[in-house]
């Protein structure tokens, strides 16, 4: 049966999302653990920052909250995607995802999208916690925030997919992933003023736009077309490059006979 004859990609996505939701609800302690750890981390940054920097911290708190929100989304898009591939390889379920009429790539994209969905929930909850904790108010116009956030994390998502491919091929790439984790955090926080080249880096443009949307209340249609073009271009571009790297890696893994080994 070809995907066209069957339920198509919505059924595939439905199945992987359902699995995420089932596990999310079945192991609430695990989900709660993630939220608590990230919440404590934020509280540490906020309270520590206030004690050390006082007024400076108070002046930039909105930016920190937005950056924190984006960082949770980004690590979900980046880390969980590669982690999911590694987990499937170690569980012995990776090869079964290869043997579907949808193709390995689309199946992993669907699984990655499902992971990202759970991180949107984490990020939403933690955003609320951060706002209450800091007494900050932000513009939460979803029509603006959602598309900007989606294209922003798409770049991290692309890197995650690429690392998923590298995991298939080289098995353990954790140390490299930690390095990239730092870089991504840096890209969210880095001010991009004065260097247009930096805008081509993942997360950077999206981070800047999200700050403006959430702090200054800029609406989606109020952004300059060029800014939006860079946002969409980097998001889609990194996604495509990530997918290409993934495809090359899985092809090489199959040639070497190491697909599914862990």
């Amino acid at each position: 049966m070809s995907p066209a004859e069957s339920g198509g990609y919505p059924r595939l996505l439905g199945a992987v999302v359902r699995r995420e939701v089932v596990l999310f609800l079945r192991y609430p302690f695990e989900a709660l653990g993630t939220i608590v750890v990230l919440g404590v981390l934020f509280a540490g940054i906020f309270l520590g920052g206030t004690a050390l920097a006082g007024q400076a911290m108070a002046d930039s708190i909105e930016g920190i909250v937005v950056g924190f929100f984006l960082w949770i989304l980004a690590i979900g898009a980046y880390g969980d995607v590669a982690g999911d591939v590694a987990a499937d390889a170690s569980w012995g379920t990776l090869e079964r995802h290869y043997l579907t009429p949808f193709g390995f790539g689309p199946v992993l994209l669907a699984k990655a999208a499902a992971k990202l969905l759970t991180h949107f929930v984490y990020a939403g909850v933690l955003l609320a916690v951060a706002l209450v904790l800091t007494g900050t108010t932000l513009e939460l116009d979803l029509v603006t925030i959602l598309p900007v956030a989606v294209f922003t994390v798409a770049s991290a998502f692309g890197i995650g997919i690429a690392f998923g491919g590298l995991t298939v091929l080289y098995k353990n790439v954790t140390s490299w992933m930690e390095l990239v984790n730092f870089v991504l955090a840096g890209l969210i926080a880095a001010p991009l003023v004065g260097n247009d080249l930096l805008l081509a880096l993942p997360l950077a443009q999206g981070s800047a736009l999200l700050q403006r949307a959430m702090r200054d209340g800029v609406r989606l249609w109020e952004f300059e077309p060029a800014s939006l073009a860079i946002l969409v271009g980097t998001g889609v571009g990194y996604l495509l490059v990530g997918y290409l790297v993934f495809t090359l890696c899985q092809r090489r893994a199959r040639r070497l006979g190491v697909l599914g080994d862990y």
Binding site: S6, G7, L259
Partner: protein, 359 residues
């Protein structure tokens, strides 16, 4: 009477005589495929080769392997550890890219149109691990059905049938991780057969099962192959499983197919049986002129033991001769031909055939 242990004692030289006799890589259409209905080929492997590495480190895992599996047929893929079974299966599925060869699943070329081909096939490569342990048995069936594009809700009957067949109905809503090793294995097989497939690969399906469960599992796999007209390629070290449910056996050794024949024909390698007669009251020399080929005569503290490989007529003749010479029969042991013996014979392999691991 100890047929297994005696099979292991069989002299190497006698076994090796059978190796070429079983006919190299005979194709399915030269065997008994005529009685398989329309001869609808579910899996066709032609000239599959795979070498890992290059130069001096190159290892040829699969070397020109050809065989086929028809719908409704259960074929056993056997071979000593490291013979190339796993690489053959993985190459056939495209999980390993072969250097040469064509693999067609239901007439679809796996290398040029993998997605269409994968609509017809599913595989259990990792035994009990082949599923999500934190999902329930039924959730696994539904998940792997859905990611192949089928609607689990519309095939609930099929899933119920599988749960029933593998004695999983009562644990259908239990997380796999909490099940016993054997139940996990059965759940994994059920999830592999949950999709509407035309061909399924099962690697060591009875691993970890007790004798009774293994028996039942064999029956059910056989029944499902027939009922659903699914071609099953089964790799196993468990000769009882292979002998019980396989129509045909493909034996690979050192990357090549050394036998492709029916189980019956393979057992027919031993048209004669081995007998061990122990008698009292005759001298070993007294049998020198017997009209029966005696392989070994051993004197044992007043008794004499004769090892013969013969058909029943010859055995009766020997007994009459011995009776005529005043011998008193102490014991008769027979060595029934089984697949394990045949396997050892064609592979010249004295290594244990139990235990996991593949190549």
């Amino acid at each position: 009477m100890g047929s297994r242990s005696e099979a292991r004692d069989r002299p190497r030289s006698t076994e090796s005589e059978h190796r070429p006799a079983t006919g190299g890589d005979r194709r399915a259409d030269e065997t008994d495929s005529g009685d398989k209905g329309d001869g609808d080929v579910a899996l066709d492997v032609e000239g599959l080769s795979k070498t890992f590495g290059s130069g001096q480190d190159a290892v040829t895992a699969v070397d020109g392997v050809s065989f086929s599996v028809e719908r409704g047929e259960v074929v056993g893929l056997l071979g000593p550890n490291g013979a190339g079974k796993t690489t053959t299966i993985k190459s056939a599925l495209g999980l390993v890219v072969p250097d040469e060869g064509i693999v067609e699943i239901c007439g679809v070329d796996v290398s040029t149109d993998p997605r269409t081909a994968y609509g017809h096939v599913e595989a259990m490569m990792e035994g009990a691990r082949n599923q999500y342990w934190r999902l329930t048995v039924r959730e696994n069936l539904e998940y792997f059905t859905a990611i192949s594009g089928e609607d689990p809700a519309t095939v609930r009957d099929r899933h119920d049938r599988l749960l029933e067949a593998f004695d999983l109905r009562e644990v259908a809503d239990t997380q796999v991780r909490t099940l016993s090793r054997g139940m996990k294995q059965k759940s994994s097989i059920a999830s592999t057969l949950a999709r509407d497939v035309d061909v399924a690969f099962l690697d060591e399906p009875t691993l970890g099962l007790d004798v009774e469960s293994a028996d039942e599992l064999r029956r059910q796999i056989r029944a499902i192959a027939t009922e659903r007209d699914v071609g099953i390629l089964l790799s196993s070290h468990d000769m009882d499983t292979v002998e019980a449910i396989c129509d045909r056996v493909v034996i690979v050794d050192e990357g090549e197919v050394v036998v492709d024949d029916t189980v019956e024909a393979l057992l027919g390698v031993f048209e004669t049986q081995r007998y061990r007669l122990t008698v009292r009251g005759v001298e070993p020399a007294a049998v020198a002129d017997l009209d029966v080929a005696v392989e070994a005569v051993t004197e044992l503290d007043g008794r004499v033991r004769f090892d013969v490989t013969a058909d029943s007529d010859a055995v009766y003749r020997l007994m009459r001769e011995l009776d005529g010479r005043g011998a008193r029969l102490e014991a008769v042991e027979t060595d029934t031909p089984d697949l394990e013996g045949a396997f050892r014979s064609v592979t010249g392999d004295d290594r244990a055939t139990t235990g996991g691991g593949g190549a």
